[in-house]
């Protein structure tokens, strides 16, 4: 773990005693002091220099899946802004998935960070995989545009996918654009060169689909010196090293291997239920075989269909379209026509979570989609990588997963490859661990870049102090909320009782009134009776009765009661 200069690892164990000397570009070295206390009240060297005591936000990296690489960085500067640049506007499962996963991983590590997603065109019409998040258009490349973007972005994260191309025209078919227009837009200049020397650059698990033209070598070398470069397969690494020998190119698995963090099981189940309701999936029961292909596989549709019937063994078959931009619809039509039984085609109603749901609950996946196969692998499903077009990324994927047997270079090998596919939990976990480390590094880069641009001192303390404090704050909030709720409930309960008592008092009051009314009535009757002649005339007799006979009567009643 990287530490600020002068901080001994042993000191990291006792948070209260953490001290360090800090050097900033604008201050003379300061005497050691309690950095942790300073962090908590927001006084950083930069703040002290400015004389400001503004409370600082503190960011931490969240431990993810057991990776406890926590770093506290006191910040009173604006939170980092990350530009996520790639082909995320293409109607393709993998491209949109990468943007979602990357955003999620960075946001979980850098709460409150601004992440701008930028793509060559932005919005070009309906995209069944987009979820309503904003995708900005990079616009045609120009120095002005680069400067404009660089103003507000601290770290440019390029990727992933096979976007490192020297020839922009190759992207045109994916957008339905004229090659000349794509050439004018020149998105490759953003992808390769980033946003200029003032913006930190990270290539994020990119693919290099073709050998780099020799005359472009210098361009790559210039762009990548100082950048953090990661590629997703060995072939891409070799191609880059050929162009930029001195650049450290790391191999990091594709971010798609974190797809199981994106959607909860409950959500995936709900989406499957919805798809069954609209008859886009077979009724619940036997798990289906999921098939996918692009326009290049249309000539092989019949052969693939024959192989699928061997694989399915009577199970239903679903054909998904992960890449409408690659002509998946054409393959789906051709396959459904060739298959001997009904094929369920969710079509345009299946978005990102739906495709994930379908694959994750399938019997297995057979397709040319890079990320379709990764999704199957992540969810422990067998899959066959249809690599009939000879694309290196597909055969490379099989090798990377430790599953070269999943790769089918021709249709006749599909059934065999399906049966040979195995699950590799250990490999998946190691991929996810490496990806966690990679995203941790990107988060560090973002923080450092934000600090550097604001000319602040970077103070990093490599201790797991953040977690307990943040956890305690969260617990306190929870306790406060629970107490608040309990108080509200108790008051409502008391209020209920008081209202009931009031109602009861009201009822009894009414009853008392009623009885008083009756009493008044009886009294009135008595008065009337007393006013009668017979009452007056019998006064004497009544006096004698009460003197002589009443006492005898009372004595008799008492004896009876005894």
């Amino acid at each position: 773990m990287a530490l600020a200069a002068g901080v001994a690892p042993a000191d990291m164990d006792r948070a209260a005693d953490v001290t360090a000397s800090v050097e900033s570009p604008t201050l003379a070295p300061r005497p050691a002091r309690n950095l942790l206390r300073d962090m908590l009240v927001g006084s950083t060297p930069a703040n002290l220099a400015r004389g400001a005591g503004s409370p600082g936000g503190i960011t931490k990296r969240r431990p993810v899946n057991g990776c406890r690489a926590s770093i506290w960085v006191p910040m009173s500067s604006p939170t980092p802004c990350i530009g996520l640049i790639g082909t995320f506007d293409v109607e393709n499962y993998g491209d949109v998935l990468l943007a979602r996963i990357t955003r999620r991983e960075l946001e979980s590590r850098l709460p409150g960070t601004v992440i701008r997603v930028l793509a060559p065109v932005g919005y070009a019409g309906l995209n069944r995989f987009d979820d309503g998040s904003e995708i900005e258009s990079l616009g045609p490349w120009s120095f002005e545009r680069v400067t404009e973007l660089a103003e507000g972005i601290d770290l440019a994260v390029i990727g992933g996918g096979e976007i490192i191309l020297d020839h922009d025209e190759l992207l045109a078919p994916h957008y339905g654009l004229d090659p000349a227009e794509m050439h004018l837009r020149a998105p490759s200049r953003f992808f390769i060169e980033g946003l200029g020397p003032d913006v930190a650059l990270a290539w994020h698990c990119v693919g290099v689909p073709q050998d780099i033209d020799r005359e472009q070598y210098a361009r790559y070398r210039d762009s990548l010196s100082g950048a953090h470069v990661t590629v997703r397969d060995e072939t891409s690494r070799k191609r880059l090293r050929a162009a930029a020998k001195d650049v450290d190119v790391k191999l990091v698995p594709d971010s798609g291997f974190l797809v199981d963090r994106l959607f909860s099981e409950e959500l995936l189940a709900r989406r499957a239920g919805y798809l069954r309701t609209i008859a886009a999936l077979p009724p619940d029961g036997v798990a289906p075989v999921v098939v996918q292909g692009n326009r290049d596989l249309v000539p092989f549709a019949a052969e693939i269909a024959a192989q699928i019937s061997l694989v399915a063994e009577g199970a239903p078959v679903v054909c998904v379209e992960t890449g409408p931009c690659h002509g998946d619809e054409a393959f789906a039509e051709a396959f459904a026509a060739a298959y001997h039984e009904r094929v369920w085609i969710p079509g345009a109603y299946a978005g990102l979570s739906d495709i994930t749901s379908i694959i994750s609950t399938s019997r297995g996946f057979v397709g040319s989609s890079f990320h379709g196969n990764i999704t199957a692998f992540v969810y422990g499903k067998p899959s066959v990588i249809l690599a009939m077009d000879g694309r290196s990324k597909l055969s490379g994927l099989g090798a990377m997963m430790g599953q070269p047997q999943r790769v089918a270079g021709s249709a006749e090998h599909v059934a065999q490859a399906f049966r040979a596919a195995t699950t590799e939990e250990e490999i998946l976990r190691s991929f996810q661990k490496r990806l966690d480390g990679h995203f941790d590094h990107l988060a560090e880069m973002a923080i450092e870049a934000a600090w550097r641009r604001n000319r602040g001192a970077v103070v990093r303390v490599g201790v797991d102090v953040a977690d307990p404090i943040e956890g305690e704050i969260d617990q306190l909030r929870t306790a406060l909320e629970v107490r608040g709720r309990r108080s509200v409930d108790e008051r409502l309960h008391l209020s209920d009782e008081m209202q009931e008592l009031r109602a009861e008092v009201g009822i009894r009051g009414d009853r008392i009134e009623e009885l008083q009314g009756q009493l008044a009535g009886v009294r009135g009757e008595l008065e009337d009776l007393r006013g009668t002649a017979i009452f007056r005339y019998t006064r004497g007799l009544r006096a004698v009765y009460s003197m002589v006979f009443m006492p005898i009567r009372i004595r008799i009643q008492r004896r009876r009661r005894k």
Binding site: R104, S108, P111, V121, G122, Y123, A124, G125, L126, N127, R128, D130, D131, G132, S133, E134, S137, G139, Y175, G176, L177, D178, E181, R261, L262, F263, E266, L267, R270, R271, G273, Y274, R276, T277, I278, A348, Y349, A350, G351, L352, S353, D474, R477, T478, L480, E481, G484, R485, S487, V488, D489, R491, L492, L494, S495, D496, M498, Q499, R502, A503
Partner: protein, 450 residues
Amino acid sequence: MINRLPPLISVVIVVRNTREHTRRCLRTISESTPSDLYEVIVVDNASSDGTARDLERSNGIRMIRNEENLGFGAAVNMGVATASGRHLLLLNSDAFVEPGWWEPMLEEMETHPDTAAVVPMVLNPDGSLQESAVLVSGDGRTIAHGSGGDANDPAYQFPRYVDYGSALCMLVRRVCFQAAGGFDPAYGQGYCEDVDLCFRFAEMGWRVRYEPRSRVRHIGGASSDPETIEALVRVNTRTLRAKWPDYLSRRPPLSEWSRWPHRLVASRDVEALDRVLVAAGMEVSHPVRVFLERSAGLWPAARLTLLMRPEADESPGLLDLGVEVIRAPADMGSWFRERLLHYSMVVIDGAEAAAAFGDDLHHTQPQALCVYSMDTAFGVTVPRATEVRQLRRSDAVWSTSDARLAVAADLAPQALRFLMPADGWATSDLPGVMAHLGIAPPGRRKARAS
């Protein structure tokens, strides 16, 4: 190819045999909404009265025709799958938006990023109030808040966070709808799926907001008969209860709400754990008004109520901030009984307020922290005894004057004393002041990831 922008709003309407209503619904949208702001997606659930045929001839509508009735939730999900707007307007075919409906709802979405959905005030065809959002009872049933009331009554005029808003007209952030997985097909043909969605939003750390400046008229029951509706509601309420037992257990039962009106208020404010009542006289003093305005910004989830004398001046702006402004009704006794033990803090703004409301507050809010804002010359506007009594009942005293605080110290030594700036507390100072009074600083527990 020119770079196009997506429409801001995708209007999704599910129709089934409501030809005339649907026409009117579409007409009111087109008449009251800028055309470049929205797109319309209509999902027809196997209408047999020619609705679908009719609509297919209309320009600018994207139609999805289902061969059988797939139910409301699934149909909406299908419509959303083909939407490209940043926000979705879920709209019943028998709901007709009023002019100016969209600005306040969009403003809410833009200014509060944690708002997943906004619902408007819903009116009956005759203009009376149908609902100012909906209350959810502990048994899963729902009650339209304010039904039959006066739509212009201030009681229904302030925006607030709500448990649940009906999808008969609901502006939803599309990214939230997708992250929540859309409507749950478990609710079949319809009813309660929107309650379920709002509960899921809350679970994920988002909120639903009621915005009364936006209005819509709703006929109701257009696509089903009352018996069918009742049967569906009964079945789906059971499903809701089974799915959300903990969430529902926090809600007061509302089965006899007419007998226990205090439960309606409790239900309305069930998620507002911090509740502050400011009692003022003819007008709110400047520092207390600033306190209300800034608190509304800092604690949007708190319930802030301003109670004024019946003849008091208007308090422009406070309603729009989400402050409940009440001019004391004739039957103050009932009003206070409905709010028995309701508030966590009561601020009495000046001697007039103490004279008008002090005794009632003392009897009905004994649990509340009582703050007396002492900003009039002592013993001048009301009898000295009234003020002394109020001081002695108070837990805290605010004043912009040292001299008055000295008087308070002498007469009510038990009370905390705060010297308030003449312009009211700055936003940055308010959390500290409120913490001393037992109101937690703003900030929420971390929202769960999707």
